[in-house]
């Protein structure tokens, strides 16, 4: 009957591309994230050609995006430092937003794969782990760059016996970033899949709208938190 329209519940199965030395990569994640990055880069490059005083066409939209990421960085880092970390925050925001929305909007399930299925790249825990580790490297290097060796004073504040807690916090920050994004994206897709397997028509639509909204909110939260962590160490 309609079963060919339903997707199976697949968590943790991937399209493995094997290399001779024992390494492998997740094919569908790499393909979809390459697609997202290509789309974003071409959109940004195309939109920023011949900028004008009075914006027209795509420049309007680019300016809205710029205002949004600028306000995220500005509110967390203050006027004197936000400019040098704006590219990082903007990259994180645009990539997470692009991949979440690409996973929610584009009907990837129409394409059949041998194993696994096309979905948002953030559906794979490796992508989110990479973003989270990048964030923690970013705030570490931002602190070292701006405060120099005095950065390490942060670990014994407000009192020396806070040292273990502050060190543990360095590990829990990327962990919570990682699980938050991964869990939210997977939860959205799982909810939609389960409801689709019960009632395939009409009923899943509001849930899909909710998923679209939640995935853009997650991008905002990831970028806000990355900016807040950087702002915390350089203040």
């Amino acid at each position: 009957m309609l079963t060919f329209l339903l997707s199976k519940i697949e968590v943790g199965s991937h399209l493995y591309v094997n290399f001779p030395n024992g390494l492998h990569l997740h094919g569908e994640t790499v393909i979809v994230s390459t697609f997202v990055v290509t789309l974003l880069v071409s959109f940004l490059v195309f939109g920023t050609q011949n900028l004008q005083k009075i914006p027209q066409g795509p420049q309007n939209f680019i300016e809205v995006v710029y205002e949004l990421v600028k306000s995220i960085a500005y509110t967390q880092m203050g006027p004197s430092y936000y400019a040098q970390f704006l590219p990082f925050v903007a990259t994180i925001f645009l990539f997470v937003f692009g991949s979440n929305v690409a996973g929610a909007l584009i009907p990837w399930k129409l394409l059949e794969l041998q194993s696994g299925e096309f979905a948002a790249p953030t559906n794979d825990i490796n992508t989110t782990a990479c973003l989270a580790i990048l964030t923690s490297l970013a705030y570490f290097s931002a602190g070292l760059k701006i405060k120099g060796i005095g950065y390490f004073k942060r670990y014994i504040k407000p009192a020396p016996f806070f040292l273990p807690i502050n060190i543990v916090e360095d590990f829990t920050k990327p962990l919570s970033l990682n699980f938050r994004l991964f869990g939210n994206v997977v939860a959205d897709e799982l909810t939609i899949t389960v409801i689709c397997s019960l009632v395939p028509l009409i009923i899943p639509l509001p849930i899909m709208m909710l998923g679209l909204f939640a995935s853009s909110l997650q991008a905002l939260i990831f970028a806000t938190l990355a900016a807040a962590y950087i702002g915390e160490v350089i203040e």
């Binding site: 968590v11 938050r180 869990g183 997977v186 939260i221």
Partner: protein, 83 residues
Amino acid sequence: MVDSVIAAASVIAASIAVGFAGLGPGIGQGNAAGSAVEGISRQPEAEGKIRGTLLLSLAFMESLTIYGLVVALSVLFANPFVG
């Protein structure tokens, strides 16, 4: 035999994880939404700002539930104790 015991324990563990992870954030989200409604009714002109902050903090609370869900998913689909 051992595998079926592990499977049964995993299912129970997953349901308990999701159930309890929903409890605390549910109470917290209720409190936050209640206070936001109070704030809006006291000061209707601040609605936009209150809504933005509310959504952001709701998403933070939601993430605690999601941690429980991640644990449940890993117990169900990537259980380290099976085979």
